[in-house]
């Protein structure tokens, strides 16, 4: 009898998570599809939009993953932006000489050098993590600008501030699926066509580097949560003194984590130079390192969450390049989303929270009904405003690693 009642609770955590994620995903697609039909903006889920969204997501995702690695080992890495900038230069330089794949390794290498600086300052010398990160952002921006001005003007297609005409990594298309998906997407049916255009975007001319970055999310999740190496690394972020008493070389793990973090941010920068555009330009990152950091916090320091965060931010980032009508339709989407969330809060008896969210939702709905266009600047702001709201409303539910950002000295366990 007791075993029968206990069974539902014994289901694996993976199963429960994937199931709830599946429901959320299905509801999400349904709402998006509904909004698309109501507002008659097929661009909202057109394959073109989704392809642009994937391209916009990848650099943010790589930076967010970089943040995850460092912070899980207890090192706050504000220097992601600087490491990303270094990555854009590395990708351009190595691609010009040795082709795109060596270029990506070069991006990772330059980002890794930025990570090494951060690790030396924070782990070996115990400097405050934020201070070191700010300095690394200054050095990264300065170094990339200087090196570009010193090296690129002599190159073909190069100038002091850019290097154009770089070859990107191969794009792949899966012939059968791509065509079928295209046909279905063009029918603009409810739900089915939205899924189809998503499949079409994934199977038509998708950059292999995008696939690599998505694969890195899975790899990071597995390594950090399913290996003893990952367990030790995370123990350095939760309680380094306890880890030390168990024989973990905390400095080594922190070093490895921050180096990987820098390399991932560098790859994100490389993506910007090789896939998002076909060349390097100064100031190309435009604060995406910070958005990556925001996506990681949005995702509660977890791989699945940061993927959702990066997709959300990438989607809004891509919409600003497209017509203003679809951005306007997005307001309705946000309004419905907020109202659903308010209903959920009311159902959970969190009345004050529900009222706050509902008022917000109604305000956005009014904005949608009373206007015809949305200024481009408001879509640019979306990731930052969203992050502030998530932090303000959900800071009690967010849980960062317990020793994140705290200085640790070897032997402090006594």
């Amino acid at each position: 009898m007791s075993t029968a009642t206990a069974t539902p609770h014994q289901r694996g955590i993976v199963e429960r998570l994937t199931k709830s994620w599946l429901y959320i995903g299905l509801i999400g697609i349904g709402v998006v599809s509904f909004v698309r039909i109501i507002t008659d903006t097929n661009d909202l889920t057109g394959a073109g939009t989704i392809r642009a969204a994937i391209i916009a997501t990848c650099p943010i995702l790589a930076a967010a993953l970089g943040g995850l690695w460092a912070e899980r080992a207890g090192v706050v890495n504000i220097g992601l932006e600087g490491q990303m900038i270094l990555g854009t230069w590395g990708a351009a330089f190595f691609t010009y000489h040795y082709g795109p794949w060596v270029g990506i390794l070069g991006a990772a290498l330059l980002g890794l050098i930025g990570g090494l600086l951060h690790a030396i300052a924070t782990v070996t010398f115990g400097v405050d993590h934020i201070v070191s990160g700010v300095a690394i952002n200054l050095i990264g921006a300065g170094a990339a600008t200087y090196l570009a001005e010193a090296v690129f003007p002599d190159y073909e297609g190069g100038g002091p501030r850019q290097l154009n005409g770089l070859e990107g990594p191969t794009q792949i298309t899966i012939p059968g699926i791509s065509d079928v998906a295209n046909d279905i997407a063009d029918k603009h049916w409810f739900f089915v066509s939205d899924v189809a255009s998503f499949i079409q975007a994934l199977t038509t001319n998708i950059s292999t580097l995008s696939l690599v970055i998505f694969a890195l999310v899975v790899v990071s999740a597995l390594v950090l949560w399913r290996t003893s190496f990952g367990l030790r690394l995370r123990s350095c972020g939760e309680n380094p003194q306890a880890a030390e008493t168990l024989g973990v070389n905390v400095y080594l793990y922190k070093y490895v984590a921050v180096l990987i973090s820098g390399a991932l941010a560098g790859i994100g920068g490389g993506f910007l130079a090789l896939v998002s555009s076909s060349g390097f330009s100064t100031g190309q990152t435009g604060g995406r390192g910070y958005i990556g950091l925001a996506a990681m916090i949005f995702g509660n320091w977890r791989p699945g969450g940061l993927l959702a965060g990066a997709l959300t931010f990438g989607y809004t980032d891509s919409l600003r390049l497209r017509d203003t009508q679809s951005v306007h339709a997005l307001l309705l989407l946000v309004a419905i989303g907020l109202l659903i969330f308010a209903a959920y809060r009311a159902y959970r008896q969190q009345i004050t929270g529900a009222i706050v969210v509902a008022v917000g939702g109604l305000a956005v709905l009014a904005w949608f009904l009373l206007t015809d266009t949305v200024a481009r600047e408001f879509t640019v702001m979306t990731p930052y405003v969203t992050t502030l709201f998530v932090l303000a409303l959900g800071s009690q539910r967010l849980r960062m690693p317990a020793a994140d950002g705290k200085p640790y000295r070897k032997g402090s366990a006594g």
């Binding site: 700010v134 170094a143 200024a375």
Partner: protein, 363 residues
Amino acid sequence: MSGINLKAIGLSLLAPAIAIVLSILVTTVVIAAVGSSPGEFWSTMFEMPKPRLRVDIVNQTAMIYIAAVAAAIGFRMGLFNIGLEGQYTIASFAAASFAGAAYFSGLFNVAAAIVVAMVVGAAWSGIAGILKTTRGVSEVISTIMLNSIAITLVGYFLNTHGVKEGNTVHTKNLESGSTLGGFAPFEDRDGEIWVLTLLAVVVGVGFWVLLNRTRFGYDLRASGQSESAALASGINPKRMILISMMLSGAVAGLIWLPALFGGARNYGTSFQAGLGFLGIAVALLGRNRPLGMLFGALLFAFLSVKSNDLTFGTDVSPSIVQITQGVAVLAVVVTYEVVRRWRTRLEQRAVSRELAGATGAAS
């Protein structure tokens, strides 16, 4: 007694000295690595600047110094106000719009615009302060987000309400009665030292007085060093966080005003971005001390301005000084940490030696 003081001064100067040597070394190596001549670079950099550049250096020093003080107010309280950049962008825009609208005339307009800048800066940093005190949101993250929001918002308002002129947009020009200009120490064509660089002096002296001569300054330093001790002595930490965050933002609002009322006359392409981050760097370089930051601001201004000469005499691009500045900051924080540890060890050794001597004499 004087011997100990000399030693202490020597130790505190050791860290910046090492940091400067390190940043010179790294810069030299980087220049040599890309095949340019480091010798040429250093000789160009250390030539006496021309009068026009000397004026520039004074103006830049003033603005960077104000930014550094704004950062230091937060740092002394244990707060990282990374959001200076956004605070002074939005405050400069507000002040320029307000002064351009000319609700008042002459000097009163300037005074009112200064107040507007401080209020807007304080309000913007206050958002981060309120989020921290009521919701526990880290000010580092919220101010980074607020930076981007401020810069986009200003872009939006500039596009919708600004004066279009060719390809550029700017706020309404100040009336000539509200332009303060400055005084020209050399010939007129060498430019003027702006009147509002005096704000840097006011802010610097005010910072020193506030920290060392007021109850609030004592509370601020106490909270920065130990929150629990501060709480025990009756200081309300939340109130302190909010006040110091807003104070930092208010000072940040002043950063670009010397240029606005000196030569720029409107907010537009003439706006100088990046002063906020330079200010943070200088605050770190100068250890949040009024005099230390003055030295740091002068050094950074000298490097930035003097690097303009590089485009003529040498093939080294001016952006090299950004590396020098960044390395100087990183090196200074690292060496301070090392010197601090070394000093603690020296003190421990001295104490144990004296203890051993004392017990030895007693027995």
